[in-house]
Symmetry: C2
Subunit: 547 residues, 2 copies
């Protein structure tokens, strides 16, 4: 199950930087930010004080559930900065009373039935990688559970972990929702297929979690969100199974799938999906373009916009500002860097990367010589260039973030999207909001920005904020920065989340953003499908005041 996973932070026990590397990170950061908080040791499960369960494990669920400390502590939070800080403090007040690992749909239904008859909140849990409080039985604040529940359980889908059926002709597969990214790709690889959806959490998140949260993958254009890969869905709601028809396209009323995609466990438990797959790419073309000078990021953004509007559909089109580029080793800190990549299973990408590079040169960029990989070139292309450096840093990031959390450094990311016409002002406003909030706290911050996804009509800017904090005040300081940034995002026409989802942390922004009639409609569906209000209460919709 999750034996090897860290109960308090990112990833697996023993993975990430070793003790010496941790000290190195701490030293570098201490010097750079003049902070003197030492590196707090990793917490141990033996020292964790869990609340006494309010319900005992019922016989009907005993076969596939556990109430041991490691299971409960490991399912208390997701993996946000707030979560790690609370775990480091030993605060596990929100721990579920037990964790259920249903082995099939019948057991999922049994859990929901039991919860419905006992006023127990059921929190669906895939990989637990939420960074927005999506899997937490929070007792107060935004998205809190109501007082009416007699208990809270975590419904872990990770035993539903198989690729059940592959349709090679249509390039699709029927897949259980609890499967993790690497297992999914491993089961598809022998067939020459890939889902080609790689969120940063890939290793520690599940297909069902991706669908429930409208996950964003690594690729920068065309099919960015998981939404477009869903061919059909099977969802266990408290009032029945909802299975849509497997179709390549349809015009029959509002899409049933689009209602459950992004429903974040509030309407049902996603158990299976037919997913659209792709052939494994064989042709590649890549290049790195630097944009110098004070307006480097702005010119890079213009180039990215033209590329996004060109119908060339680069797989990668990621613009790093000078700070991001330096941090990840993709640049020297003086220039913005655009990481460009094309890939295809069927035809050479030489012409595409050449067009893209010319477009960037038209905007004053300096391009590396494109690297071309043809079908007959069986060697894995070396990853020693800027793209490779960036990718490695990207995957290491969450582990490093936990080291920073242990020394009371706030290191947080804010992701959003806005249309191109607003982008320049938007980026300035969000940057200033974060810097100002840090200054009010009395600290110096660095704010860096990258564009993670580019669309014909806009981009997804992703901000990283780093600022020292004082041990014991991290959450309040984080909250202040988060509130300031969220306000700037909404005021300047962004979305409160491009791909991290809403959860509980984004509730205030989400409530402000969504149209009021839609909110009422969503509550009406929730009441119909989940009449006892047991599913992930507080997420997207307020928990009922009385049950």
């Amino acid at each position: 199950m999750t034996a090897a996973r860290r109960f308090w932070g990112w990833g697996n026990e023993g993975a990430g930087p070793n003790a010496e590397q941790q000290r190195g990170i701490a030293r570098t950061i201490s010097e750079r930010f003049s902070t003197h908080e030492g590196l707090r040791p990793e917490p141990r499960i033996e020292d964790v004080d869990l609340p006494t369960p309010r319900v005992t494990l019922p016989a009907a669920l005993a076969d596939f559930s556990r109430a041991d400390p490691l299971s409960r502590a490991g399912h208390t939070y997701g993996k946000s900065y707030r979560d790690v800080i609370r775990a480091l403090r030993g605060d596990f007040a929100a721990a579920p009373d037990f964790v259920a690992w249903p082995r099939d749909e019948e057991e999922v239904a049994t859990v929901l039935d039991w919860c419905g008859s006992h006023a127990i909140a059921a929190i669906p849990y895939g990989g637990g990688s939420s960074v927005v409080g999506g899997v937490e039985g929070r007792r107060e604040g935004p998205g809190a559970l109501g007082d009416g529940y007699t208990g809270t359980i975590s419904l872990d889908t990770s035993r539903l972990d198989q690729v059940l059926e592959i349709d090679r002709t249509s390039r699709a597969a029927r897949i259980q929702a609890g499967i993790f990214g690497p297992a999914l790709e491993n089961q598809l690889r022998p067939h020459g297929l890939t889902l080609r959806h790689f969120p940063q959490s890939f290793e520690f998140s599940t297909l069902g979690g991706w669908i429930a949260t409208r996950s964003g993958g690594h690729y920068a254009t065309l099919y960015t969100h998981i939404d477009d890969f869903v061919e059909n869905l099977r969802v266990i709601t408290p009032t029945g199974v909802c299975q849509s028809r497997r179709l390549p396209g349809s015009g029959a009323g509002p899409s049933p799938d689009r209602l459950f995609i992004g429903s974040e466990g509030t309407l049902g438990v996603i158990t299976e999906a037919w997913m659209r797959l792709q052939d494994r790419p064989r042709f590649r073309g890549s290049a790195t373009v630097t944009f110098d000078g004070k307006d480097g990021f702005a010119r890079g953004a213009e180039a990215a916009r033209h590329l996004a509007q060109s119908a060339l559909y680069p797989a990668n089109c990621r613009l790093l500002d000078p700070g991001e580029a330096a941090f990840s080793g993709a640049g020297d800190g003086t220039s913005a860097v655009l990481v460009l990549g094309f890939e295809s299973a069927s035809h050479p990408q030489e012409e595409a990367i050449q067009h893209a590079v010319e477009c960037c040169q038209d905007h004053g960029g300096t391009a590396s010589t494109p690297r071309i990989q043809q079908a007959d070139d069986r060697s894995t292309p070396a990853r020693d260039d800027a793209a490779g450096a960036w990718r490695n840093a990207f995957l290491r990031m969450p582990y490093a973030r936990d080291v920073l959390a242990r020394m009371a450094m706030i290191s947080e990311t804010f992701e959003t999207a806005c249309t191109w016409d607003r982008l320049a002002e938007f980026e300035r406003a969000v940057r200033h909001a974060a810097l100002d909030a840090a200054k009010r706290i009395g600290e110096t911050a660095t704010v860096t920005c990258r564009l993670t996804h580019v669309y014909p009509d806009g981009a997804a800017p992703y901000f990283t904020v780093m600022t020292p904090s004082r041990r014991g005040s991290e959450l309040e300081q984080w909250d202040e920065i988060k509130a300031a940034v969220s306000e700037a995002i909404l005021t300047h026409g962004g979305t409160i989340t491009h791909h991290h989802a809403v959860g509980r942390d984004h509730r205030p922004g989400y409530d402000a953003q969504r149209p009021e009639p839609f909110a009422r409609g969503l509550s009406a569906i929730k009441a119909e499908l989940d009449p006892h209000g047991i599913l992930n209460p507080g997420v997207l919709i307020d928990a009922p005041e009385t049950l």
Copy 2:
């Protein structure tokens, strides 16, 4: 307003085949099908017997409403075969009591308020081109209005017809929903922009209608449905204005827009949308590929599948079976024909069409020499090839259909979609279902098929059925064929509609297809947003039994 429109059939008065051409069509068809029903004259509004209005025009709406016979008759039906036959018979029993043409959102809200307080059914009407009974106040049968309404009005949005704002940087425009296709493109053209969404009904349908019905455009791959072009929506519901945020992408809960896209006027009246636009194409590449022999269509479909899975994204990839090819003049009736086209605003399409042609040759196709249009070639490419022949026939089709209806020939199309693994059996089953139904009636039928859209995971087959009927029995015979085809579509894993929408005609199939919990959810939203049940009752959801 709609003065020049035919009240009983397709298009404008005086447009379509002239009297001599009509007689020519009739002669050809009579010989081919050995039918002897003469060509009934076009009906005249003076001869139409409309039911006495049940409500009189209220003062609050008088400024922008009319109850004259032409307005009422012209808003009684959509443009399906059933609709034309009933109009030819002078059956206007379902006529609305009056037609309102609100000039702004306030007047839309006034209409809805008035309907809510008087138990009047309000049927939103864009261009009125529905071929599924979507704009009809039907009294009995599937999708019928309940008995509880004291009257029915048609809410015509055609005065909301302006492009209000253009954002050239993000390539998007804020557009009123009542605008017709040609006016929309005319207002965008000076900016070098296009929505590039061309359903067959383009000339006589509106943006709001496209969005409400999940319209499918002319282009065969990538962005086929209007869904993907919607950046945000503004909808007047009976309980408030629902406006979503203008965003290039978002992961904030289930998409609000996707709830209203395809809602077919049951949840609110769409008044505005920010739509994603494209630069006008300057580079083109096209070719026609024939696939000979008995398995020509099957091999053509395999070629189309490989193209759809190649990420080349042809603008046109339309496979005609030998009968379709002959009918439209694109072939001689012995071969299947694949019409291929690429276009781009930014880069030459020579390589793309070359790859596509090679792929077709690998599947045994014989390709014409590709026609290439480069940016500096300002001449409009000639349309004298198979693609051009097909396109002209495509646009003339609905006019010709009305001539056939006047001679009691059934000429109907059935559109659907299914995954590639099912396609061959699916196509056979639907063909046989139509032929068998015609045989039961005692008539010979021709059934032809084309693939209108191709997806990586499936295709959209479009069937045309022609069979003589007996005057007076057309509707019963049509119903029998429609029921047989619909059953075959659902049994063999298709969708009851790929882009014609559900309306009232597709209700039985839609009810069988949609997941039951989703149906309950949709009814719950409807009750919340439209508590008096006035909006397009019977479409998607049963009208309430009591109001």
